[in-house]
């Protein structure tokens, strides 16, 4: 079963020098934290904040290429967690057929926000330990850790 989720937050993880995207379901029951790299976090942040750059950033370019070719992103799905890595798929329609392309969740989410299409997460990808890990991580956070947040 697929659960629709929205991006509810983006924060900096000072321990891993990475960023975390927080996906959360409509009923706020399921939370999915996904660790992403800096450029991808930046791409997501620009879309969340509606910041328009003078030149197209890489995900804008992908969106522009798809628009120009009249290919349409219809949804993205985070399908599973494998070896600590979330896998996802981007679903498109092009010339009457549906196409599914393997993507990292970070890229897929950056595209979903730009194309304004739903983000789905498969049941299998929502594992309780991940939110326990997040709780533990949140409990260990100190105020000074937030100082390193840097857009």
């Amino acid at each position: 079963m697929l659960v629709q989720m929205k991006v509810r937050g983006l924060m900096f993880d000072p321990y891993n020098n990475a960023y975390i995207i927080i996906l959360r379901g409509e009923e706020n029951t399921d939370v999915l934290p996904i660790w992403v790299g800096r450029p991808e976090a930046n791409a997501i942040s620009l879309a969340l904040e509606g910041i328009f750059t003078p030149r197209p950033m890489t995900h804008d370019l992908i969106k522009n290429v798809l628009d120009s070719l009249e290919a349409k992103i219809i949804s993205i799905v985070v399908t599973e967690l494998k070896d600590n890595t979330y896998l996802s798929k981007t679903h498109l329609t092009y010339q009457g057929s549906e196409i599914t392309v393997d993507s990292r969740p970070s890229d897929a989410i950056a595209l979903a926000l730009r194309a304004d299409v739903p983000i789905f997460v498969a049941d299998e990808a929502i594992k309780k330990p991940s939110s326990e890990e997040l709780d533990r991580w949140l409990e260990n956070l100190r105020p000074e850790d937030f100082g390193k947040y840097d857009t």
């Binding site: 450029p39 890489t58 522009n64 120009s68 070719l69 498109l92 990292r104």
Partner: protein, 173 residues
């Protein structure tokens, strides 16, 4: 006139935390340095060094999209320079759906190949993204002679002359 260029090198600019892509023509007569961001520079370096990532990186994803759509990229063109910003375009050859016959149930309609009806579709891009994609797709990189005549080779020469050996310390792949 469009001149084909090759990516000669990519170097880190210790002063700005940016990276510089050095493009050269086949005779090594023309040299075009383009400043790019860290992420785009890495995307170009990975392609140059043939490093493949276990998961598709962002430019790999664009390549995967194009392969799935079966729309070939013909070339990229660095066509103008405004202020200190270079502008590039991606040139695709798209076969319109109507030209693939009326049989919409064909498994792989695009396998019919590129017909005379193929249309060129161009998309505006930053040179960094365009180069990162061109290297992945194995297509030529062109620059207009207008851009080559406008660029200031003095600026790179001046920058290179100012370099001290210690500047290379912050280099970080």
């Amino acid at each position: 006139m469009n001149i084909p260029l090759k990516v000669d090198a990519i170097i880190a600019d210790p002063n700005t935390n940016a990276q510089i892509v050095i493009l050269k023509d086949e005779q090594d007569l023309e040299l075009l340095p383009i400043w790019v961001g860290m992420a785009e520079g890495n995307a170009i370096r990975f392609a140059m060094e043939g490093i493949s990532s276990p998961r598709p990186l962002t430019h790999d994803l664009l390549k995967d999209f194009l392969n799935h759509l079966k729309v070939p990229l013909e070339k990229i063109l660095i066509h103008s320079m405004k202020g200190s910003t270079y502008y590039a375009s991606l040139h695709f050859l798209q076969t319109p759906q109507a030209q693939k016959g009326n049989d919409q149930t064909t498994e792989n309609p695009a396998l019919d190949g590129i017909t005379e009806e193929s249309e060129e579709v161009t998309v505006d891009a930053r040179p960094s993204d365009a180069i990162a994609l061109a290297l992945r797709m194995g297509v030529p990189i062109y620059v207009t002679d207008e851009v080559l005549s406008k660029k200031g080779p003095e600026s790179l020469d001046a920058w290179l002359e100012k370099l001290k050996p210690t500047d290379f310390g912050p280099y970080d792949a």
